[in-house]
Amino acid sequence: MTGAVSTPTTFAAWLKTGAARKYLGIFGWLIVLTAAEVGATQLGLGKRTLAAILILTALIKASLVALYFMHLRHEVRLVLGVIVIPILIASVFVLGLFPDIVIAARAALR
């Protein structure tokens, strides 16, 4: 639809059209999850449980942004590879830090 001027619609009507509606839907979920995160801190949970919940919600929110706002859901394999492989490599690297910086340090502190 090159060069075509979109048919004049009110802003509110436009927001209800396909793509805009999808973005607003994701927005809703992101807000709900953020509120849940803040709420979880007030529940008096143990550190580990709280951390697990927060990491999970953060991952879900991040995935929503990546898949729908950054359109990774519909991207070609090359682009997926360009972003997913570094995430995997980064995770391996941080895991490689654990034996020294976490485990050994904790053992020394005991």
């Binding site: 690297f93 830090l97 020294d100």
Partner: protein, 571 residues
């Protein structure tokens, strides 16, 4: 794409990859000379402890009276290493060769992002000014090694002065330049290939740059993160990498810096060698008049090495006090990386075997790489095994190992590339006889400098010591140190032959021979030097890059990559 007309746009702020490549080449060669002179000073000091050095001694600080005192020695090996890695080799190999060759070899008119390319050079140039300024600030140059371990480097109490701080910033500039270049190279290689140039038809040189750029893309940001935290420790007074009494309000961990540094540092050494592995494929094939043996296997092996090289960094830290689990893991992975290396090494040998070898200067240097890389690579295995490394870590054996792979393999590879592509870049060929003299001196001298280091290292000679003869145990190596000194001196002399050849040829009249080596790849399918737009028409490729001595043609021993398909022949 109109050609610029003003002097500034043509030669200073050019977006033409060929001009930018030359800018990197000249700046890089300058730093190669500076860092090389530092090495001469180092070898003098080891061979003649605390004796004033003639000529070059005047470069040292005035109160040392030409003597390399221990604090000066630390600055020398720090600046030698960091200038070589970040300001000489990376710019020449990746900045100069990568820039000049990639678009030509894939049949493109320029890089994907020409303006970004120009910015990459100028960020590097700014970093160059910064790194040279360390010599003139209070406290002098950086002195914590090219590795800049914390807390030696992170604490201003331990290493005072601006030099160390500016050094950190300068390295970050260099890294930024490299990162922007990596984005450019990867996008270009993926997107700008001419019709018919499938990935598996690309010359191995381009594959080398592709792989190097992937590693640069991923790991330069990690050293950037580490350097930012280091500079915060140094300037603001945070304590990411300091602990104990140096961090009264709660500190971090020094070992974290080592992990971050070597997490980058190991891929970095593969970043430096991958372009050499790549261009060796092209050169050995061209001067043996044979296709590169096992092209596919070489491409895959190099790819496997790219992958595995990212998980072996701990082999630089065997004696740092790592968790024993890590030691074993890293050892296993490091030893296994020798397998794909062996595959393409034997492919090199198979390429040469039975070929109609032409011993032109580029080929001599390429064969030199094969020899020194064999030694360097094999000695890597000794360092890889943790039980052995505990004994040879921080000795000159390690220094010998990485100099055989870096100073020898990368250096010879660089020279092979310069002799090979000089005619394409400048429209004139370097003198063959002077080139052969340069090779002969360099080959003998390099071995003379670094082979003794292996011997001494096993005998207990420690590195980074201003005066090993201080220890009675090490006094027996004085003869070897003399051998190393005179070899280093001869090596310098050999480079003067090269410098003379380089300058004299540049000053001579161009001969503009399009394809002096009768090579098949696309850069030889256009004039020497190429026009601004690289090719009159975008080439169409219908065969692989190494159609040498093909039975399909009787009158010549090569078919250019862009020649139209032969009748009845399969691509």
């Amino acid at each position: 794409m109109s050609e610029p007309t003003s002097f500034l746009r043509r030669y200073v702020f050019s977006t033409d990859h060929k001009v930018i490549g030359k800018q990197y080449l000249f700046t890089g060669l300058f730093f190669l000379l500076v860092a090389g002179l530092f090495a001469i000073l180092i070898r003098w000091q080891i061979a003649h402890p605390f004796q004033p050095m003639p000529v070059l001694g005047h470069l040292l600080s005035s109160d040392s009276h030409g003597v390399v005192i221990p604090t000066e020695y630390s600055k020398l090996f720090t600046m030698h290493g960091s200038l070589m890695v970040f300001f000489a080799v990376t710019p020449i190999l990746i900045g100069a060769f990568g820039n000049f060759i990639i678009p030509l070899q894939i049949g493109a008119r320029d890089m994907s992002f020409p303006v970004l390319n120009m910015l990459s050079y100028w960020v590097y140039a700014l970093g160059s000014v910064a790194v040279l300024s360390v010599f003139f600030v209070s406290g002098g140059a950086a002195s914590a090694g090219w590795t800049a371990y914390a807390p030696l480097s992170s604490s201003v109490k331990i290493t005072p002065g601006f030099g160390q701080t500016i050094w950190i910033v300068a390295i970050a500039f260099s890294g930024t330049s490299t990162l922007l270049g990596a984005i450019n190279y990867i996008a270009t290689i993926l997107n700008e290939r001419c019709p018919g140039m499938d990935l598996m038809r690309m010359p191995l040189t381009t594959w080398g740059f592709f792989y190097t750029s992937i590693l640069n893309l991923l790991w330069v940001p990690l050293i950037a993160a580490a350097l930012f935290m280091l500079v915060l420790d140094r300037t603001v007074g945070t304590s990411f990498f300091t602990a104990g009494p140096l961090a009264p309000r709660g500190g971090g961990q020094p070992l974290l810096y080592q992990h971050l540094f070597w997490g980058f540092g190991h891929p970095e050494v593969y970043i430096l060698i991958l372009p050499i592995w790549g261009l060796l494929g092209d050169l050995l094939a061209t001067f043996s008049r044979k296709p590169a043996f096992g092209y596919r296997a070489t491409v895959i092996s190099m790819g496997v090495i790219v992958a595995v090289s990212q998980v072996v960094w701990g082999h630089h830290m065997y004696t740092a006090g790592m968790n024993p689990i890590l030691g074993k893991t890293f050892m296993f992975l490091t030893v296994s990386i020798s397998m794909p290396t062996a595959i393409f090494f034997f492919n090199w040998l198979a390429t040469i075997w039975g070929g109609a070898i032409q011993l032109k200067t580029p080929m001599l240097f390429a064969l030199g790489v094969v020899f020194v890389f064999a030694l360097g690579g094999l000695t890597g295995l000794f360092n890889a095994v943790q039980a052995l490394d505990v004994y040879i870590h921080d000795t000159t054996f390690v220094v010998g190992h990485f100099h055989y792979t870096l100073a020898a393999s990368v250096f010879f590879g660089m020279l092979a590339g310069i002799y090979f592509w000089f005619p394409k870049m400048f429209g004139r060929a370097l003198d063959e006889r002077l080139g052969k003299v340069h090779f002969a001196i360099s080959f003998l001298a390099l071995n003379g400098v670094f082979a003794p280091m292996m011997v001494m290292g096993v005998g207990g000679a420690l590195r980074r010591l201003a005066d090993p003869s201080h220890y009675e145990l090490l006094r027996k190596f004085s003869t070897w140190n003399q051998v190393a000194w005179w070899s280093a001196f001869a090596l310098l002399g050999g480079q003067l032959v090269f410098a003379y050849n380089f300058v004299r040829t540049l000053a001579s009249r161009p001969t503009n021979v399009q394809n002096p080596w009768n090579a098949t790849t696309l850069e030889w399918a256009t004039s020497s030097p190429p026009p601004h737009e690289n090719f009159p028409a975008i080439p169409v490729v219908c065969r692989g890059p190494y159609e040498y001595s093909s039975p399909a043609v009787a009158d010549r021993d090569f078919i250019a990559q862009n020649e139209p398909a032969l009748e009845g022949a399969s691509a």
